[in-house]
Symmetry: C2
Subunit: 296 residues, 2 copies
Amino acid sequence: MDMSRYLEQKRLDVDRFLDQVIPAEKREPTTLHEAMRYSVFAGGKRVRPILAIAAAEAVGTPPRSVLAIASSLELIHTYSLIHDDLPAMDNDDYRRGKLTNHKVYGEAMAILAGDALLTLAFELCSRTDLMDDLEPQRQVQIIYELAVGSGHLGMVGGQVLDIQAEHQDIDLTALQRIHAYKTGMLIRAAVRMGAVAASAGAEQLQHLTGFAEDIGLAFQIADDVLNVTGTREQLGKNAMTDAQRGKKTYPTFYGVDGARALADQCVRRAIERLSSFDGKADALRELARYITERQN
Amino acid sequence: MDMSRYLEQKRLDVDRFLDQVIPAEKREPTTLHEAMRYSVFAGGKRVRPILAIAAAEAVGTPPRSVLAIASSLELIHTYSLIHDDLPAMDNDDYRRGKLTNHKVYGEAMAILAGDALLTLAFELCSRTDLMDDLEPQRQVQIIYELAVGSGHLGMVGGQVLDIQAEHQDIDLTALQRIHAYKTGMLIRAAVRMGAVAASAGAEQLQHLTGFAEDIGLAFQIADDVLNVTGTREQLGKNAMTDAQRGKKTYPTFYGVDGARALADQCVRRAIERLSSFDGKADALRELARYITERQN
């Protein structure tokens, strides 16, 4: 399959949907909506939404509502970037080659834009008009997955562990734990939400969950490698920031080549988990490969 | 009815429930859970949860799940206080007589504790074990009410309007609009969530929504009056902060006595809206009176 075309098509679908559901800049409070849109449309690759869509396709015909589910994941991801970039957190001035939210709108607005995006994610998933092709029971389950994946024992919890680990002498187990929470849990939620939307059975859901855990790890290792090998132009933000902050990463433990090999191993294992799925899971298989091969 | 006993009993119910559903401090990430608990158990009056419970009682027998719904409202309220107190926002050192979250745990942790509480609110409302006495359809509707009441066209939107209005020469219409969003929409959501949980019909829901809008306004006017007349001891935070910040409030437009009279008028109108409800709505009626009579 033509993966770059697939990615481009799905990205456009998600972007069009996000454009419809985030209020226009002219709608009051105008600055809030402008700030929300600024970061959502700052050029994200939409990896999490596309994973949700591809997981739904792997199970069967994705319901129309999968776009709302996919978009909610991007809203969560975007809010986390806005809050992570704040002066009190990572204090980053650039993200995806553009000024970070608080550099443009100020800290107060950036905090509130993040809060609003986080809340909008749950508004989207609880809208009945967007989700009328889903049983309410599945809709509740999808909302629950999103909350767990992004909350205190998911993404936010991982962010806390990550901050606490800075300048600490953590071991590999601690590093794996940080990433399982910080990146892994939302990727896991993305795949599970798509699968539940497409009415996955228990066994399918189990295989897909394992797949998600493996690619979540591969994704993070690849990110760490890119932070060492990527240029400022490729990344759209400063490179080598992990080393400057004294952060331990996969390359710290395995070296760049060792880390790359480990990521490849995770991808192979992830694809093996899909052995009981037919050709409808090909996009998911390709996505797994794409994750370690991407340059930004 | 003995209102102070009612309030005390419901507050205890809500606190006990919150204590069960927020992870213990010893659970990893320990500092995050400690920071979350610090602000949730800093002595709130639980007005929004109790409104939800009383609204459910007004309609019929509240389902067991109303406690999860009520508690989710307090999690949202608490997160909004944590973020509002941040240096980039109101920069407050004290809240309810205790140091604010970021003064104890630092800004990064305060931002993340707020994010985690916000997300936990939706986790609670989407748990099937806590909400098994509710039809999934109602559960989805309740989640939607919570998202709308607290999001970009609710509480967060109002916070943005409020920040933008500081040191501006706003008129009464603008002031009303700020408060309808900032305080009103979450109170409206509280009442509607309780009513939906108790299977309110369309007409009941309409009356209760009007009631909520009236007491939401009364609540804010009373808050503005207390900011002028209350002492630091009564409020648990500094008094006269609105005037110091150059904020226009109801006493600015009506004087203290005029503002009090307006609040009383809102409460009377709110109680009239309940004329078709029987004695089961008495707690709701008393709550409306309590709102303007409280001293903190």
